[in-house]
């Protein structure tokens, strides 16, 4: 234990020395090292990497198309139990390692393709919320006064609702569908980014290097974009990573209620919802999509926690 700690301390010292020599270029390298030193963060990163690869190479990995109906092509019935040849399933039967769904589609192929939907959705939701939220937060923090007051009270109102409830209401206005679920979840998550960004701006704008820039004649835009925003990125990166997890979870919830992706889209929440009435006869069709959601959300959560620990070593969680 002690020896490992010593080694770590040595590593940190070495990296810091390195940092001085290379003129600051090593900050992300240092963060990366700290990140790789924590098991949970590494597990999270591995899960996310695997999922991204799965999404990119979905057509290669999946034995069938996500919407390919196998009626008449193979000897399978709807809601067939999983059949894995090496686990003792009759080799005469076609292999469906997660069984088939109610429309005789290969469940495994749909799960693989579902990664595309969920990851894209998580990414775009967070990007949208991050852009809008941090812009609002930065402006509110920098301009201050009545503008700050109005923006932050609006954010308080959004936070005053249970987020799923507000998302449901927004989707009801926009109409059910994947894009609208994305927009709804993005709106619901804007306040978190706005608040963090505003707090960062408030603390950073009082620092000496900002005063120095101002004394050198930099205007508000330059100060915000060149000085404040880069220094406020750290907590936002962590928040965005955790935000992907929340977005995927909430989108799955909306889809489960029939407000998100619509059939036949291979989306995990939708797949689960359309088979929930057959839970007692074909539990595998509910188990696999839900398990996929859980693993994905877990991956992003662990990665976010790891990033937070790595970026802020003073937090000894």
């Amino acid at each position: 234990m002690t020896s490992r700690k010593t080694v770590e301390a040595f590593e940190v010292a070495a990296t810091e020395a390195n940092l001085l020599e290379s003129g600051g270029a090593g900050q992300w390298g240092l963060t990366f090292r700290r990140f790789m030193g924590r098991t949970s963060g590494v597990i999270g990163l591995s899960i996310v990497t695997l999922l991204v690869l799965m999404a990119i190479f979905a057509p290669v990995i999946a034995p069938y198309g996500p919407d390919q109906v196998l009626i008449g092509k193979e000897d399978v019935r709807p809601r067939e139990k999983p059949c894995v040849h090496i686990l003792g399933c009759d080799p005469e039967k076609p292999q469906h390692i997660m069984g088939t769904d109610g429309n005789v589609r290969d469940e495994f192929s749909r799960i693989i393709h579902g990664a595309r939907v969920s990851l894209t959705l998580g990414f775009f939701t967070v990007t949208l919320a991050l852009l809008v939220g941090s812009t609002l937060g930065a402006l509110a923090g920098y301009i201050g006064g009545w503008f700050d007051n109005v923006i932050m009270r609006v954010m308080d109102v959004i936070l005053g609702f249970p987020s799923l409830l507000l998302a449901i209401a927004i989707v009801a206005v926009l109409g059910p569908g994947l894009e609208n679920a994305l927009i709804a979840i993005a709106i619901v998550s804007i306040p978190a980014y706005a608040r963090v960004m505003r707090a960062q701006v408030l603390s950073i704008r009082e620092t000496d290097f900002v005063s120095a820039s101002r004394a050198l004649g930099a205007n508000a835009r330059q100060i915000l974009l060149r000085r404040v925003v880069p220094n406020a990125m750290t907590p936002l990166v962590v928040l965005a990573t955790l935000g992907v997890a929340t977005a995927i979870l909430e989108a799955a919830g909306l889809s489960f209620l029939g407000l998100g992706a619509q059939p036949p889209t291979a989306e995990w929440g939708t797949m689960l919802a359309s088979e929930r009435n057959n839970l007692f006869t074909s539990p595998h069709l509910v188990f696999f999509p839900g398990f996929a959601i859980m693993i994905t959300v877990l991956g992003f959560n662990l990665m976010g926690d790891g990033l937070r620990d790595a970026l802020d070593p003073s937090l000894n969680r």
């Binding site: 949970s40 009270r153 609006v154 308080d156 109102v157 005053g160 609702f161 249970p162 987020s163 799923l164 409830l165 449901i168 209401a169 927004i170 009801a172 206005v173 109409g175 997890a245 979870l249 799955a252 919830g253 489960f256 209620l257 407000l259 929440g269 689960l272 929930r276 839970l279 007692f280 539990p283 509910v286 188990f287 999509p289 839900g290 398990f291 959601i293 859980m294 693993i295 959300v297 877990l298 959560n301 662990l302 926690d305 000894n316 969680r317």
Partner: protein
């Protein structure tokens, strides 16, 4: 108080958001082929012919006088709907909260006391999985496990509903032979309290009903409690770890206080502030999760009613229930603020 403008903001947002939903309530309720005259009568009866600003005025006045209007979809007053539906959600959310605190806080304490041990890692792994769990999936899996896999064993639990068909909970006022006048405030009040099935059957000693109601509540409550439980365990752990490094802990140890006293009295009380805050915040998550949990377990609570109302453009129900939820929020956060004074005397002095 800052809560009041936010509350007004919520009321306004709900009012305009629900009116922005495409399609009008008439066709939503009477069907696509409703005649113009029928719609006219319908709008007249529900005050939908007035200009929006007048509707807003009426709506504000009604909220202040606690007249929440009439549900178009369920064709009864919204207050009656609250009397029928809220108790289920309350019992569900409270059971979930009790489970999450009863398990989450001890888990966090054990984890912090055995910092960096296997127990600690296992607890944190459990907490990480817990926050990543889709509530509806967990609910369905629990339903399958306890209703199908454990069928016929003592562990079998019902997967849906509030009571087994044919089992009725006799309200306490009837069981005790009270004579309540119909339609008065107090009869409504007692009806509301009596609809808390678990509580009602307990105080009237209807043990078979009580057992049935509790058995129905176990699975939804456990499913709903997972996320708050995981969050509470994490916060308790990190907060206690921080408190254990403080000077007053060293002082207490130096004075020769027993470890149980050091942890239980000095550290724990001081580390409870963030825990209480997070418990208050979890209420929102519980109400949101209640929509999914009630859907999975087919419970007639406010979550499912609100979902039906939003998708069915039932203005009065959406407005009334949202104001109700927002009010619960504000009250809970007020209670959380008040509890700070108890936990930290320095705040009381200010």
């Amino acid at each position: 108080m800052l809560a009041v403008p936010v509350l007004i903001g919520i009321v306004l947002v709900v009012f305009f958001l629900i009116r922005a939903i495409p399609g009008d309530p008439c066709t939503a309720m009477l069907g696509e082929r409703a005649t113009v005259e029928a719609c006219e009568r319908f709008n007249e009866a529900n005050g939908l012919n007035e200009p929006v600003i007048v509707q807003l005025g009426i709506y504000m006045k009604n909220i202040v006088t606690l007249n929440l209007g009439e549900s178009v979809r369920f064709s009864r007053p919204v207050t009656q709907l609250i009397i029928e539906r809220l108790p289920t959600t309350t019992e569900l959310a409270l059971s979930a909260l009790v489970i999450s605190i009863a398990v989450g806080v001890p888990l966090g304490i054990i984890s912090a006391r055995k910092h960096n041990s296997i127990i600690d890692s296992a607890t944190m792994a459990f907490a990480n999985i817990g926050v990543s769990m889709p509530v509806f999936w967990l609910g369905l899996m629990l339903a399958y496990l306890f209703a199908v896999v454990f069928r016929g064993t003592p562990l079998e639990l019902p997967p849906s509903g509030r009571l087994t068909a044919g089992v009725f909970s006799i309200p306490y006022y009837e069981a005790w032979g009270w004579h309540l006048q119909d339609g008065t405030f107090w009869s409504k009040f007692h009806e509301y309290i009596g609809n808390h099935v678990i509580f009602n059957s307990f105080i009237t000693a209807q043990w078979d009903v009580w057992k049935d109601a509790v058995r129905h509540m176990i699975l939804p409550a456990v499913a709903l409690s997972t996320i708050p439980m995981a969050i509470i365990a994490r916060i308790t752990r990190s907060s206690l770890l921080e408190a254990m490094n403080k000077d007053y802990i060293r002082t207490a140890r130096a004075k020769g206080a027993k470890e149980s006293r050091v942890v239980g009295l000095h550290a724990l009380r001081n580390s409870m502030l963030p825990v209480v805050t997070i418990i208050g915040l979890q209420l929102g998550a519980l109400l949101g999760g209640a929509i999914l949990t009630e859907t999975v377990f087919r419970l007639a609570g406010i979550g499912t009613a609100l979902f039906d109302a939003i998708t069915g453009r039932d203005y009065a129900v959406v407005q009334g229930f949202t104001v109700l939820i927002a009010a619960i929020y504000v009250i809970v956060n007020l209670l959380v603020d008040l509890s700070y004074g108890y936990l930290d005397p320095r705040i009381r002095v200010k």
